[in-house]
């Protein structure tokens, strides 16, 4: 080509632009089809995701630096107060934990008597949330460990107070998780007080879950704690999910209008725990030991 390239005022049309567009549209549609229907493109996503990782790190850095600065410049008296508080808290937690071990043993014994399958024991690992937003159409978060650390799709994520969400996509060093408040997320729960099972659906608002499938005569009231029932298979049973905050019974509707507030502070968490459920087969010997103790 003789004409100068780039920003010239050459009015010639860019060659084959329409054909290129058509080819790209075709490839896009093919990609979307493969991605949506077949999930064949995990490797592609992982490769590009690894390239994006440094960008995520850079975006995350100022927030991390700010947190670090905050820690580094805390005054001595503040730290002492904090240590005092933590010590008191640890004493309390330890006391509760002592009871928990004996309760666990008792539970295992009773289950053995009933000949029921032993409960699954969970392993947890702490992950930090990276300060990056992701998908604008979802409530989600990005954590700083990925498939390299054994994270898998569908894995449950909790924080100190309750269930946060589950992993939907694992990269090598990061993973994306969907929050329980997302409109596409539904979670099998049961009422802790009476074992009533239902499903908690995300409302799209960060501080509300809906329970749309409860009949008007269901035994549920404000203040009830909802815990995971373990029925879906994704979440281990017994983790707190939300507290019911309003029950509206509408006589002409088949279902009551029930909303709940998530126990976990979904928009404030900085650290979360990922749960690995150890298969119960591996747990059997442990039960045997408990029985021997008797």
């Amino acid at each position: 080509m003789v004409a100068p390239r780039g920003n010239s005022s050459n009015p010639a049309r860019i060659p084959a632009l329409g054909i290129r567009l058509l080819v790209l549209i075709f490839i896009s549609i093919l990609l979307m089809y493969l991605d949506h229907r077949e999930n064949h493109l995990d490797a592609v996503r992982k490769a590009i995701g690894a390239a994006v990782y440094p960008i995520r790190l850079v975006v995350d850095a100022p927030v991390r630096l700010w947190a670090w600065l905050g820690e580094a410049t805390t005054s001595r008296s503040d730290l002492q107060r904090e240590v005092g508080r933590l010590k008191a808290e640890r004493l309390l937690t330890n006391a509760r934990l002592q009871r928990l071990t004996s309760l666990e043993a008792e539970n295992a014994r009773l289950r053995a008597l009933l000949d029921a399958r032993s409960k699954v024991r969970d392993e947890v690992r702490v992950a930090e949330i990276m300060a990056v937003d992701a998908n604008p159409y979802e409530h989600n978060l990005v954590i700083d460990i990925g498939s390299r650390d054994g994270v898998y799709d569908g894995q449950a994520i909790v924080d100190a107070n309750g269930v946060v969400g589950q992993v939907i996509e694992t990269g090598l060093m990061t993973a994306q998780a969907v929050l329980i408040s997302d409109t596409d997320h539904a979670l099998p729960v049961e009422v802790n007080r009476n074992g009533l099972r239902t499903i908690a659906v995300g409302s799209g608002e960060i501080d509300r879950l809906d329970l749309p499938f409860l009949p008007n005569n269901a035994d549920i009231r404000a203040g009830d704690l909802l815990v995971t029932s373990g029925l879906g298979g994704a979440f281990p049973a017994g983790y707190p999910v939300a507290v019911v905050n309003s029950v509206t019974r509408i006589p002409q509707d088949p279902f009551a209008d029930v909303t709940a507030k998530p126990s976990a502070a979904l928009d404030q968490v900085r650290e979360v725990m990922l749960i690995w459920s150890v298969p119960s087969a591996a747990q059997e010997p442990g039960d045997a030991v408990v029985q021997d103790d008797e």
Binding site: I14, L17, I25, R56, G204
Partner: protein, 163 residues
């Protein structure tokens, strides 16, 4: 020639990387839906200014990267971006002589088309999302365009003056 295209590429790549950072920067929950489509705005600007080096192909690659970063359907943002870049490249001579007000109106239309494509693909793939997450970025993107335009023009002329 290669020196020339390299000096064209670097500022563009840098602005795209910064744009990607802005796209994933954490925002408070209340204003997060109003985050402008930084990459769409950048793609429109560069396609308008350098239609030979930054055309549908590079827009598509940027879109795929955005899809992976967002975790959306692979190809969704890529499709949206390459369509609006195609229109921009097609009319780049016209758009260059538009006064800023008219150009901003054009950008509004392009952004709306972009969001419509995303909305439509989400509909086909049955991804539900509140409507504000589609249309708020169009408004904020349009409002931010004049400033971004002036800033990027500055970047561009400074990059050229250095040669």
């Amino acid at each position: 020639m290669s020196r020339d295209s390299a000096s064209h590429r670097l500022p563009v790549i840098v602005t795209f990387v910064v744009g990607l950072m802005l796209s994933i920067m954490p925002l408070p929950e209340a204003i997060a839906p109003f985050r402008p489509d930084w990459l769409a705005l950048l793609a429109i600007f560069w396609a308008m200014q350098l239609p030979r080096t930054w055309s549908v192909g590079s827009a598509w690659i940027v879109g795929v990267i955005l899809d992976v970063t967002y975790g959306t359907l692979l190809g969704q943002h890529a499709l949206g971006l390459c369509v609006i870049v195609f229109i921009t490249v097609r009319f780049h001579l016209l758009m260059r002589v538009f006064p800023l007000s008219q150009l901003t109106a054009t950008v509004f239309a392009l952004l709306a088309l972009y969001q419509f494509l995303l909305f439509w693909i989400n509909g086909v793939a049955s991804v539900s999302a509140p409507l504000v997450s589609y249309w708020a970025p169009v408004i904020t993107g349009t409002l931010i365009w004049p400033f971004l335009y002036m800033f990027l023009s500055g970047v561009r002329y400074r990059a050229q003056a250095r040669d």
